[in-house]
């Protein structure tokens, strides 16, 4: 059954690309199909968890390339993928007919690659699907990107290509060491006593996956690529495909169980420093941006820090931290929806005002109150306002960092960290990193409210004068995503 989630978009893409079928209609039909089918799969396996245990909704004619919703994060990521895909294709606005064709094809392929990766139990097909999904990203940035698109496309290609090589090396090392080739088999093997070892393997995996998720300092590709990419590609890549790295790390850690502490543990303190780089360093980079697309690209990099924090908290307790896992899952879903909506709105704003320089806009909410409302909702969601999706995830992650902590003596050798740790009753590395990372809440409020202030408030600016009205599909696609942000804000754990 699950195989259709992969096949239908591929067939649709082939029809559009080769048989010249009407691009918009075909793509929309395919996206609608995957939406309904995906929702049904997610709901039926959530309501009936035993069915998820029987795992393979599709075995591929006896081969091991099988798709499953039994992995703990598969369902939530599938949900994210189908929702964002539908919104991206519904809101797709290409400059001309030819562009519409290639945009639709790449959007379909990109989302197929992501869905394939999230449904794969086999590690090689998990990897390969992601690689396939990267291709449309590069091509679309190279052909239709904003700004210096060639350089940006090449930078992203080189970065992600190298990262994929590193990742592949790590995965191969790991799998050959374990002697099995799928997530579920690794879990079984670990339970049977074959433990993963090797700091090098863990390091390769962290750098490989980390670069794909734009972990500091391997983040330089991300913000320009998102800023440059055409709207549906930016939505799908930043919202969905980027979660691949975190998905991989968490699923591996889940498969390792308690052994994840000894495996990833040797990098955990370094990871804590790097993720603070994401939250604080990139946070201030975000504050300095003057263009909306650059600002959003950087903010997306910044927010990844919190999910890495959940990973560090999960690893630090040897997988005995369900909160971190759940929090990360909700946060991935929430971040995917919000950033996709923000990029969608960026495309609409650019269409209306023909610029993304924030200072030349202003007062846009007077011209387009609906747009202002949705942008405000998405922006506030992304800075963690309660009752919108991100808050539930963030708050759970914060709480999870204090899992298993009790006051006692400071836990560091000496120095300033020890002093600070002592003030709060002996915080450990994870809790200390959390406290620094919480400052990110202030930073994100600064850049997001500042952007809203510059674009939507104040007297009507020059560029805003040009704004006319939003089309029906513009409104529909934005409202569609906003609906889910509110829904998961009020009921954050219905999918877990």
């Amino acid at each position: 059954m699950l195989i259709w989630l992969i096949l239908v978009p591929v067939i649709a893409a082939a029809l559009i690309g080769l048989a010249k079928a009407p691009a918009r209609l075909t793509a929309l039909a395919s996206a609608t199909f995957t939406l309904i089918m995906g929702l049904w799969a997610v709901i039926s396996t959530t309501l009936n968890p035993d069915c998820a245990e029987c795992a393979c909704w599709s075995t591929f004619a006896g081969h091991d390339l099988q798709f499953t919703l039994a992995l703990p994060l598969s369902r939530i990521m599938l949900l994210l993928s189908v929702i964002v895909t539908f919104a991206a294709i519904l809101g797709l606005k290409a400059p001309d007919k030819a562009a519409e064709r290639s945009w639709s094809v790449s959007a379909l392929l990109l989302s197929t690659g992501a869905i394939g990766a999230f449904l794969s139990d086999n590690i090689i097909s998990f990897y390969a699907f992601h690689e396939l999904a990267l291709i449309p990203t590069f091509v679309m940035i190279g052909y239709y990107g904003r700004g210096d698109r060639r350089t940006i496309a090449w930078t992203a290609t080189v970065y992600l290509g190298l990262a994929s090589m590193v990742l592949l090396a790590g995965l191969l090392l790991l799998c050959s060491q374990m002697g099995v080739w799928s997530f579920s088999a690794i879990k079984v093997a670990v339970a049977a006593g074959t433990l993963p070892t090797g700091c090098l393997t863990a390091g390769l995996l962290l750098v490989g996956f980390g670069t794909l998720v734009s972990l500091f300092p391997f983040h330089s590709w991300a913000a320009p690529a998102y800023a440059s990419a055409p709207t549906p590609i930016a939505m799908l890549h930043a919202g969905v495909l980027k979660k691949f790295g975190l998905y991989g790390l968490f699923t591996l850690a889940w498969a390792f169980g308690p052994a994840c502490e000894s495996f990833f543990g040797c990098w955990n303190n370094l990871l804590l420093v790097l993720l603070l780089g994401n939250v604080l360093w990139v946070g201030y980079v975000t504050v300095a941006q003057t263009r909306l697309d650059d600002m959003l690209g950087n903010s997306s990099v910044m927010h990844m820090g919190y999910i890495f924090l959940a990973f560090a908290a999960y690893v630090a307790l040897g997988g005995n931290n369900e909160l971190a896992f759940k929090g990360a899952a909700v946060l991935m879903l929430a971040h995917g929806l919000t950033i996709a909506l923000l990029f969608l709105l960026t495309g609409q704003i650019e269409k209306q005002t023909r610029t993304l320089e924030m200072d030349s806009m202003g007062g846009l909410a007077q011209k387009l109150p609906g747009l202002g409302f949705i942008f405000g909702l998405a922006g506030l969601a992304s800075i963690g306002l309660p009752l919108l999706a991100n808050f539930a995830g963030e708050f759970t992650v914060f709480v999870s960092c204090f899992q298993g902590w009790t006051f006692g003596e400071p836990q560091f050798e000496s120095g300033m960290l020890n002093t600070i740790s002592g003030w709060f009753g002996g915080l450990g590395p994870v809790q200390l990193a959390l406290i620094f990372a919480l400052w990110g809440l202030v930073i994100s409020a600064i850049y997001m409210l500042r952007a809203f202030r510059r674009i939507f408030e104040g007297p009507v600016g020059l560029a805003s004068e040009r704004a006319t009205a939003l089309s029906c599909t513009d409104k529909l696609s934005a409202a569609f995503l906003a609906f889910f942000i509110v829904l998961f804000g009020i009921f954050p754990f219905i999918v877990l």
Binding site: V399, C401, T406, G425, A445
Partner: protein, 617 residues
């Protein structure tokens, strides 16, 4: 089922806000009517529970079922103890009056009615969340949501630069406070093992003093932000850019008092033992500094709303000081009386502003006493309560704080007395200039009292401002065991506060006479200038912290990020691929399409290779 009725406190305003916002954009009257009905509904419900007409404990709703070992689920429950229900009476009561007053005040702005009333309703929802929360996580949710609704309402006229800036400033400043608050919440969970108010009190003795101090002070950061205490007080005066009824409800009576309420709530549930000496000293110190600084700045303000805003700051400082002196009942008593009379003063100011064609400068008013008699009388009632004339509500509550200060730490007593003198002085100045003499500008010449929707709330609030300090009301309002409102007790506090009152009034009348002056005789010198410049604190934040630290810092980091990290890594990667590229230049035509094709082929090749090498795959 019936025991779950109190959930309506939350659901009613939330639903109304959503309906107003989504469906009543075109229908201003419907939006307003619906919001007023919801305020009336919650007020009625509150009365029903206070009088015992309805009883029962509402069910707890598990919002995030995340319970694991040592971690409670995040649940939403309503704690309807006397402390909370009295606070609800103030919130819904003043809320209802402000809703009604808004009808008159916002008459000229009907096109934005739905947004305005939706904002008010969402505020009522969030404030109720804070008041009725049974655990700190729920408090935090309400905390953020009131911040949001305040952002929304301060920026109601968002096309005005100053209003949009003020809204942003309020939100971000509050976020700074929330940074500490959140650390405090997480520490509380780590230290006490629970967030629930009813379970917090046990086992405090086993916790080291330093940890308790850190926890309480981190939680206090939240109150510093929300109750606008020094050094995060700067947002409140700017928040006066919002519509005046909003200032009355949010920035005078309820939301800014939430910090005080939260601290008292913690004191009650953690036990006074959790408030260590150091923590108390810091809290009381912050309160005292705020009270003094704000009162000083109020002396030289010309905008009627700003005078009241600084006065609010100063009174909040009083309350926080009382919290630090472990006199929770005095803090709550002053919170209640202050809520009524300050809401009255703001609504009075609102009536004046509307009738003077949206003029807020007191030097362009004058002689309003004859032309707006109802408003003037009500405003004076509020003023008398604020400057603590014996018999008015503020007198009793302020006396209680001064008593506590004298008993625990006389230093704070003398600070409080000084602030009382300043309060009397600036309020007398305000009243003399506004109501006496003759009109100094055209707008003030034809001013007259507002209609029924504006006068009725004023009169009701005036009644409360007078009587809420009397024993029969106060004993009911302040639900602490052994609390009795004072009568007139002759003693040092009484003499000192009478002295402060007389000094303040005398000074004001000597300097400002009978309101005949057209210009402030105190202005022009250095002291006046620095008070008008808010002691340069705002300037320091704008130029120093934001301008130099944040902006230059952010730009430097941005530069370093693009020059060093991007440069280094990208160059390195480019060099690396360049070398490979030279090797494989026969593959690379430089075309992106060709390159991606190669990646695709490569991937498929890898898969086949693997499948071949590992048949078990």
């Amino acid at each position: 089922m019936i025991q779950n009725l109190p959930w309506l406190f939350l659901l009613l305003p939330l639903a109304v806000a959503a309906i107003d916002w989504l469906f009543f954009k075109k229908c201003a009257c419907c939006a307003a009517a619906l919001s007023i009905l919801s305020a009336l509904g919650t007020f009625g419900l509150c009365i029903a529970y206070l009088t015992g007409l309805c009883t029962g404990t509402p069910d707890v709703y598990t919002w995030m079922p995340i319970a694991t070992e040592g971690m409670p689920s995040l649940s939403l429950g309503l704690l309807m103890d006397p402390l909370a229900m009295r606070m609800m009476l103030v919130v819904t009561g003043i809320g209802l009056l402000v809703h009604i007053f808004s009808l008159g005040y916002m008459k000229g702005d009907t096109s934005n009615h739905s947004r305005y009333f939706a904002g008010l309703s969402i505020f009522m929802f969030s404030m109720t969340m804070i008041v009725l929360a049974d655990n700190l996580a729920m408090t935090f949710i309400g905390w953020e949501m009131v911040g949001f609704s305040s952002y929304l309402l301060i920026g109601h006229w968002f096309n005005k630069e100053s209003a949009a800036d003020a809204a942003k400033k309020a939100f971000i400043t509050n976020r700074v406070g929330d940074f500490g608050f959140l650390i405090g919440i997480l520490l509380t969970m780590g230290v006490f093992g629970t967030l629930s108010f009813s379970e917090m009190g046990t086992g405090t003795e086993a916790i080291p003093t330093a940890v308790l101090t850190a926890t309480v002070l981190c939680l206090f950061c939240g109150a510093i932000g929300k109750s606008a205490q020094f050094p995060l007080h700067v947002w409140l005066p700017d928040a006066m850019e919002g519509p005046t009824p909003v200032s009355a409800l949010i920035h005078a009576a309820t939301m800014v008092a939430a910090g005080v309420y939260m601290m008292v709530r913690l004191q009650v549930s953690m036990g006074e033992g959790a408030f260590t000496e150091t923590a108390c000293l810091v809290i009381a110190g912050v309160g005292a500094i705020t009270a003094v600084l704000a009162a000083l700045m109020a002396v030289q303000q010309d905008d009627i709303k700003r005078v009241l805003a600084y006065s609010t700051l100063s009174q909040l400082g009083y309350m926080i000081m009382a919290v630090g002196l472990l006199a929770g009942e005095a803090a709550m008593f002053h919170l209640y009386t202050h809520a009524w009379f300050k809401a009255l003063l703001f609504l009075g100011a609102g009536a004046i502003i509307v009738r003077c064609h949206h003029e807020q400068d007191i030097w362009k008013m004058g002689g309003l006493g004859n032309r707006m008699p109802i408003t003037t009388v009500c405003f004076l009632m509020g003023t008398f309560a604020l400057i603590a004339i014996p018999g008015f509500s503020g007198f009793f509550s302020k006396e209680l704080i001064l008593d506590a200060a004298l008993e625990k730490c006389p230093f704070f007593f003398w600070v409080g007395a000084g602030v009382a003198a300043l309060t009397t002085f600036y309020m007398a100045r305000l009243c003399i200039i506004t109501f006496c003499g003759s009109a100094r500008a055209h707008g003030a010449e034809h001013a007259k009292d507002g209609g029924f929707t504006m006068s009725m709330p004023l009169l009701l609030l005036a009644v409360m401002a007078v009587i809420s300090g009397f024993g029969f009301v106060a004993d009911y309002l302040v639900p602490f065991e052994g609390f009795h409102a004072h009568g007139f007790e002759l003693g040092l506090p009484f003499y000192v506060s009478m002295g402060a009152l007389v000094v303040g009034l005398l000074l004001a009348f000597v300097i400002y006479g009978c309101g005949k002056r057209s210009k402030d005789p105190l202005s022009g010198n250095f002291i006046s200038k620095s008070l008008r410049e808010r002691l340069y604190i705002d300037k320091f934040y704008d130029k120093g912290i934001i301008g130099i630290l944040q902006e230059c810092g952010a730009r430097t980091i941005e530069f370093a990020d693009s020059a060093i990290i991007r440069g280094l890594f990208a160059q390195g990667a480019a060099w690396f691929t360049g070398k490979i590229g030279m090797l494989l230049s026969w593959i690379q035509g430089g075309s992106l399409r060709a390159y991606s094709l190669i990646i695709g082929i490569g991937v498929i090749f890898v898969i086949f290779l693997l499948a071949y090498t590992f048949p078990s795959l």
